[in-house]
């Protein structure tokens, strides 16, 4: 047994150590390490935007092309067209026919791929420096001269259907995500599925896809970003030579104006409800979704901070509460602020522990969302998030491809590749009160859509 004096000393020392653990931690301001990427930007007369960042560390470069087209431009009956087209862009064009594109790239030590979202379609290549000329030529060829060979078209349809099974039909999380997006963005252009509905994928014709290509693939709907061992001026000249003569599409601009009318994107989902669906998850998985913000609003940045405070890292509020706490209820939890070009969704997702009662958990979580704004957001948790964001920015730019994505996404969404500087400024200025206010705004009204999936639910016929 410790004597009182020793015990007091022990308590004092323990408390001192405990408080030192926090107080001695220095603040890092987001602008302590100013990030400044030297970029040459040119807009060709046909509207094609080109960004070049030189990095001569190794004789390699990354080449990204961002097209401002994605699932949001698809209509019922043609869902999946953007993504299907993305696959077909590798199947040959006029000058570089079937099998040439990836053969040339991989044969020269490069790699290539692409991805499609509701807002964008992005193609990328990573190559040794000596291949700059040929990739510019090939990309210019496929931007306007796609072949869409009928045999390759049918083979690729099968491939996409397999991808769909892999990512969604056999993946409870993929299925849940699709349902959440459909419910939140119902009756808006974001309510379709990027991979496409099976019936649409089976019925999409070559002509429909070709029309889609002609509508949206044009130099004035694209941004090229090249990062690596290249000379910026020379590269711009090469691009001008190959892309300069490609015609801009004025029809596309008019069409996009019509399709991007803000009122089309206003949230119309039915809130304060729950959707349950069968899936092969032995424990319930859920997404609790709230209306979000489009990219670039001040509130969207505050919501970024809020989502990180609540769910990023082992010490985050909800991780401590539901996973690491005394009586854990979940196996994992995530909080996401997903900002799209014209709308957004803020959602919590997680997986229950087998012993957790779903009904009781639901009540518990909804109760928690009403009180957590008061306790979760403090000077320390906000500062911790700011520190994490600074490192996150540096992690994003460790490779040429990382820098290309970093610049291209900002140019694509904000028409300003250097928008990261503004982002850092905004994040730096955000206050505890602002995060609290936004937190209350999201959660207090209890306007949510709860989507859950479990193998105990009934199968729909």
């Amino acid at each position: 047994m410790a004597r009182p004096a020793t015990l007091l000393l022990y308590i004092t020392v323990t408390l001192t150590l405990f408080s030192c653990a926090h107080k001695n931690q220095q603040k890092t301001h987001l602008n302590d390490y100013p990030l400044n990427l030297a970029v040459k930007k040119v807009t060709l007369s046909n509207g094609l935007r080109v960004l070049i960042h030189e990095n001569h560390k190794l004789p390699i470069f990354s080449y990204y092309t961002f097209f401002d087209v994605g699932g949001r431009y698809e209509k019922p009956g043609t869902t999946g067209a953007s993504h299907f087209l993305e696959h077909l862009m590798f199947k040959g064009a006029k000058k570089y026919g079937a099998g040439k594109f990836d053969t040339i790239i991989e044969g020269n030590g490069g790699s290539t791929n692409a991805y499609t979202t509701v807002d964008s379609t992005v193609y990328y290549e990573n190559l040794p420096t000596k291949n700059l000329d040929i990739i510019i030529d090939m990309e210019a060829d496929r931007m306007v001269n796609l072949l869409l060979d009928p045999v390759a078209f049918e083979k690729e349809r099968e491939v996409v259907l397999e991808e769909r099974k892999f990512r969604y039909e056999n993946s409870p999380r993929g299925k849940l995500y699709q349902q959440m997006m459909r419910a939140v963005f119902a009756k808006t252009p974001y309510g379709g599925s990027v991979i496409g509905d099976v019936a649409d994928l089976k019925s999409l014709s070559r002509d429909q896809v070709m029309q889609y290509f002609k509508k949206f693939y044009a130099p004035n709907n694209a941004i090229i970003v090249i990062v690596g061992d290249v000379d910026a001026d020379e590269t711009i000249m090469k691009i001008e030579k190959k892309f300069g003569a490609l015609p801009a599409s004025t029809a596309m601009l008019a069409l996009k104006k019509e399709l991007d009318q803000p009122q089309l994107y206003r949230h119309q989902g039915v809130y304060k409800r729950e959707i349950k669906s069968y899936g092969t998850s032995p424990t319930p998985i859920f997404m609790l979704a709230y209306k979000g913000e489009p990219l670039g609003t001040y509130k969207s940045f505050v919501m970024d901070m809020l989502s990180s405070i609540l769910g990023d890292g082992q010490s985050s509020y909800l991780t401590q509460k539901y996973i690491k706490g005394k009586r854990p209820l979940l196996n994992n939890i995530n909080v996401a602020n997903y900002n799209l070009k014209y709308s957004g969704v803020f959602f919590l997702s997680g997986e229950l522990l087998a012993k957790t009662n779903y009904k009781r958990f639901k009540k518990n979580l909804l109760r928690e969302t009403r009180k957590m704004c008061k306790t979760a957001i403090t000077e320390r948790t906000l500062q911790k998030t700011k520190n994490q964001y600074l490192i996150g920015y540096y992690r994003d730019i460790q490779s040429n491809a990382g820098v290309a994505r970093f610049l291209g996404m900002r140019e694509n969404f904000y028409n300003d590749y250097s928008y990261y500087k503004k982002e850092l400024d905004i994040y730096n200025k955000i206050t505890v009160q602002e995060v609290k206010d936004v937190c209350h705004e999201i959660f207090d009204k209890q306007e949510y859509i709860l989507v859950s999936l479990w193998d105990k639910y009934k199968k729909k016929k």
């Binding site: 083979k155 397999e162 032995p282 490192i391």
Partner: protein
């Protein structure tokens, strides 16, 4: 601090890919018996630190399987001074990423963050290594999570296929059991076991430290020596396994059934015995030709020509004492037979040299031209160095890679395909619906399993 060598890589201008790395050079240090490899890169205010331990889950006794993996993942669960919450809050305040991982043969602990915070960060990490208590209440929660995670594995058929394939294709070798153990092992994970395990890694196991970033990262020497307590050469144990080489007696076929699957995940492959681990570059060229990238032989046959799958890849990888070679793909239920037939016939045709020379040249170009990308990111560069050290190879192999790949002939690739992928040596694992049995039977006798046997 004794710097005993400034390594050669910077000094080989012939290797253009690395000579260009003017801000990047490798240095080696001896920190009181602890070897340190430092990749200098002052472009960003960030660092990567990786602590390598020359032992892994093979150190786990029968009644403590999974202990090494659990010890490294629960290192931050609490010390005598700090709770799990305080430790994670403290490190995350600095924006630090940290965590451990294990394989059968080795373990590592990775830390990255801002250089200006490396001192307090490493102090905290060393405090965890020196004083982790693995509090029973935290262990209890971790066990519940581990159990649930394993039971939920059925939600990802590809993850399940990877786990099952290891166990079945590496059967009768020391490397088949999952590093993290199985459901039945979880109950054996106790504070006492994990503390003993940590003590073993702290005191007996050989360690090496890999760093990248600005020179400020070297300021952690005293923390490593004094606060982690790692110094001198008494910690010298390096895991090395002797085992009876596995013999192969015909193709083994396994169907692992999962409910409600409309897709079959297929793995075909085998373990490579220690005496087969040579000609590293030829193994890479062969597996890359067969299944690396979109233009590989298998991708062309499976996806482009027939639309059977979204993806197909082949691999041949080496650890210190064993290796693995295999093919992975998936397809819809109705085309499982077609997929396996294409894999079998493609492997056979390559063994017989029935392929155009330009296909192999493309694979060669893919491998040699793409080699610099392995050194683009510091974390990946360090990973390459660690692998060379772990497998007992020289860093000079980096410089010889391209010439070696260029030196191999069509005949060499045919022979290596035969050595690695002969059909009668392969284990075929299919994860999918039980109705797939009928199609599988055409390839031989099929053993059926419930996926739960592998959890």
């Amino acid at each position: 601090m004794r710097k005993f060598i400034i390594v050669f890589i910077y000094l080989f201008p012939s290797l253009l890919l690395l000579a260009r790395a003017s801000e990047t050079m490798i240095q080696k240090y001896d920190w009181d018996g602890i070897e340190v490899v430092y990749l200098k890169d002052a472009r960003y205010p960030t660092y990567n630190a990786l602590i390598y331990f020359a032992d892994g889950s093979l150190s786990d006794r029968k009644n403590e399987l999974g202990a090494t993996n659990a010890m490294f993942s629960l290192l931050g669960a609490g010390t005598r001074r700090f709770s799990q919450k305080e430790l994670s809050d403290n490190l995350e305040y600095y924006g630090v990423s940290y965590g451990g991982s294990s394989t059968h043969e080795a373990s590592s602990y990775a830390i990255s963050g801002l250089v200006k915070n490396i001192i307090p960060t490493m102090k905290k990490i060393c405090h965890m290594f020196a004083d982790a208590q693995f509090p029973p209440q935290e262990i209890r929660k971790a066990k519940i999570r581990a159990k649930d995670s394993l039971n939920s594995m059925v939600t990802s058929h590809s993850t399940l296929a990877r786990r099952v394939f290891r166990e079945l294709s590496l059967a009768k070798t020391p490397f088949s059991y999952p590093v993290g153990g199985k459901l039945r092992d979880i109950r054996n994970l106790k504070s006492k076991v994990l503390k003993k395990k940590l003590e073993y890694f702290n005191k007996r196991v050989y360690k090496k430290i890999y760093l990248s970033g600005p020179p400020g990262v070297l300021a952690i020497k005293d923390i490593i020596n004094k606060e982690c307590g790692w110094r001198k050469k008494q910690s010298s144990f390096k895991r090395s396994v002797s085992y009876k080489p596995k013999k192969f007696h015909g193709t083994k076929i396994h169907l692992v059934t999962v409910p409600n699957a409309n897709q079959a995940h297929v793995r075909v492959g085998r373990v490579l015995n220690k005496d087969e681990l040579h000609k590293h570059e030829l193994m890479q060229l062969t597996s890359s030709y067969l299944g690396g990238g979109f233009t590989s032989k298998l991708m062309r046959e499976i996806r482009v020509k027939r639309g059977l799958s979204y993806t197909a890849n082949a691999f041949a990888s080496e650890q210190k004492d064993y290796g693995r070679a295999g093919v992975a793909s998936f397809t819809k239920n109705s085309t499982l037979g077609a997929l396996i037939t294409v894999i079998r016939d493609t492997l056979a045709s390559v063994q017989k040299g029935k392929f155009p020379k330009e296909e192999l040249e493309r694979a060669r170009g893919h491998l040699t031209g793409g080699y610099p990308f392995k050194f683009e990111m510091n974390a990946a560069y360090l990973g390459e160095l660690i692998h060379l050290d772990h497998t007992g190879r020289d860093y000079a192999d980096i410089l010889k890679f391209i010439d070696r790949v260029k030196s191999y002939s069509t005949g060499d690739v045919m022979a290596m395909t035969k050595a690695l992928y002969s059909w009668d040596k392969q284990t075929i694992v299919v994860v999918g619906d039980k109705s797939l049995l009928k199609q599988l039977k055409q390839f031989g006798k099929v053993k059926m399993h419930n996926y739960k046997n592998f959890l």
